[in-house]
């Protein structure tokens, strides 16, 4: 049995220690907001916070995070500025990647409350969106940070 602190709760799960955190969250804890996209840490759909740092839960084993605080999309309050901004800026299309995007943005704003375009590029380029919501993601991050939007690759 492995002990996990997820969204402020202690869980005891029966999983092999090398199981990626992603599959323990999804299959054991039924927290399906964290998504599977690539299994190789290439797309960011599975991003969660581990002690406030964004991590690809598909590429980190559950035994590595036993003593850490894990926050998934479900653990970020509905009133969080990032979640509100995502809805206000109408970011989602298919929505599948958005939990990962939101978690990455939450981590970014925690580290850089007023991020520059380059900081946004660096923090968010690891999260793929096939619907192409990137322009709105950028805008939503600026709005959540209380700034206007510029946008565009330059």
């Amino acid at each position: 049995m492995i002990s996990l602190h997820v969204n402020g709760k202690l869980h005891r799960v029966d999983a092999s220690p090398d199981t990626p955190l992603l599959w323990v969250l999804r299959d054991n804890l039924k927290l399906t907001g964290t998504k599977f996209g690539c299994g190789e840490g290439l797309c960011g759909a599975c991003t969660v916070l581990v002690d406030d740092a964004p991590q690809r839960s598909c590429s980190i084993s559950v035994s590595e995070v036993q003593d850490k605080r894990i926050t998934t999309i479900e653990g970020i309050p509905a009133g969080h500025p990032v979640k509100k901004s995502w809805i206000a800026q109408e970011v989602s299309q298919c929505g599948y990647c958005q939990p990962g995007q939101v978690v990455s943005a939450v981590a970014l704003l925690k580290q850089h409350p007023k991020p520059t375009e380059v900081q946004i590029d660096q923090a968010m380029a690891g999260n793929i969106c096939r619907c192409g919501s990137y322009q709105r993601i950028r805008k939503a991050i600026h709005a959540a940070a209380g700034k206007g939007s510029k946008g565009g690759a330059s």
Partner: protein, 721 residues
Amino acid sequence: MSEEQQLSRRDFLKSGAALGGGLVIACHVPLLGPAWGAERASFAPNAFLRVASDGTTTVIVGKSEMGQGVYTALPMLVAEELACDWRKVRVEAAPVAPAYNHTTFGLMVTGGSSSVWSEWERLSTAGATAREMLVLAAAQSWQVQPGSCRAENGAVLGPAGQRLRYGELAARAAHLPTPPKVALKDPKDYTILGKPVHRIDSPAKIAGSALFGIDVQVPGMLTAVIARPPVFGATLKSMDATRSRQLPGVRQVVAVPAGVAVVADGFWAAKRGRDLLETVWDEGAGSGLSTPGMRQEYARLAATPGLVARSEGAADAALSAAAKLLQAEYEVPYLSHSPMETLNCFVDLKPDRCLIRTGSQFQTVDRGAAARAAGLKPEQVTLETTLLGGGFGRRANPASDFVIEAVQVAKAVQHPVKVVWTREDDIKGGYYRPMWYDRISAGLNDGKLTSWKHTIVGQSIMTGTSFESALVKNGIDDTSVEGAADLPYPVPNLQVELHSTKNVVPTLWWRSVGHSHTAFVVESFLDEVAHALGKDPYRYRQELLAGHPRHLGVLNEAARLAGWGAPLPAGHALGIAVHESFKSFVAQVAEVSLDRSGTLLVHRVCCAVDCGRIVNPDTIAAQMESGIAFGLSAALYGAITLKNGRVEQSNFDSYPVLRLDAMPKVEVSIIKSAEKPGGVGETGVPPIAPAVANALFAAVGARVRTLPMTRERIAAAREKV
């Protein structure tokens, strides 16, 4: 609705409630037909909506939500005519039933960028019918003429200031006969359509509670991952599953037509079990396929006469007589759809029935295929449509591959099971946008384009499917030549020919289908013609499109937005393209430059769209941004290639897609139009590749005619200049 359908619908609603949390809204009252008489507590005048006694209006949507916004746009059509309170509108996925068949295509399908145009009248009428019945119910209760009452924001107002909310009227309205004919609103009275409305599905998606197929969880359910053949068409010779079976959590290893399914308690055990499997395959003829060899064969065919898709004047003779001849070869590769949610399908198979939960774009076909695989009748199969984590055409497969294999696994293991594809399975799994090779020539005389010959070589998507007879005419698959055979530019001598090649690589429609390739070829080559004539590419199109006002409208608007002709930063240049597809017109101007390493940067895209009458302008803008991003992934990075029959790409490292740091700034302008509605889901894709290629030419004088426009290809094209 027949009794049988009513029953299956009730089952659906019950299980819908069990899904919980997601967008499928639990229903407390079954959808009631007239037979239910006095029991009814809500008003359900037709298959598309019901009004509950608390005023909640549920719109039952027969189209799949895959990001394009149908769960908002289609309810808007209903709500406009129903005059209900938009804040009380809920959405529910429709069951598979004839009532939800596509009004033109005749089966349940979401595709062809057709949801708004095909549903406009049907859903408007559904809403108007309900409104009239609610008005009549109010008039009867007040004993006044219905004509003296009006409906507004979820209530009926009477002549003496009376007011009854829809919820209060639902029970009475449910007893009224359906009016045979209803009047629809004058567009000038619209209060919802044409204005930006927030998406109904966003909050659940941001909360993480929205239910996609991959999220389906049922107590005791198993998860399967399939070892698939390394080569298309290969068959299993032998396997050794000893090590897989020893793995904790692995329950069964079974051979199925799709490969070998490792079935386990959860995904991770199934995936690890698959990795430990030893398989030997009979590879068949497919192992002889390699991209360079295929290219050679396509190039050879392109120089020979094909089937004629369009012919005007005498193109061959005019080309030989032309004062100046331009000739070029264009190439585009196979492409994977790669939706963020990999393919998956949940199946619970019982001796006399089957429940399927998946993100399907093609419910009637998938249900029929599942029934055949299960040995059941279609009506014994319940298919529940979840949200789709992207579709792009991949989830509307005439072959129903991901549904059939899941039924076969369920049949083999006799247990509810969800088959999940890994990203590698998805990228290597076929059903690609075809690889195309185009040879194109233009004859110029006295400063004019007088002849044009375009020969297209590639696989037919529709041949071999059940849609062949409807969509392939005289050997010409319309999806192979769309966007080329209907060239809008006036050329007196015009010939478009097609060679449909055959091989084992499965192909499928990919967002914008044939247009994804023809627009690149036609709009790039027209740019070559403009430059050869010494004309400005925008002004030249303007001149040629004088007889095409909607093309011209978007062309001028995109050029205006971009400030065509105004000075740009050093090294930057603009390119333009315009294309009609799916009953809409889109023009895009791309601003590009090369960085110091020679990599193409796309800084800005100005996009004008004329899609006729509009529903939700913000969704239209979002779909243009989306089409541009999707098209840029293909224009800059995307290629599926084969070596000895094996797909060389496997995940987002070898099959890169656009990321946030490469996303251009996109500006969208929607042309105000009273024309019939057109599509927006796909129409943003076709113009972007040629707009970027044309901008690249304007920037550095090198023409890249093969996608993707990698640094190496650009460098090679520059060396030729």
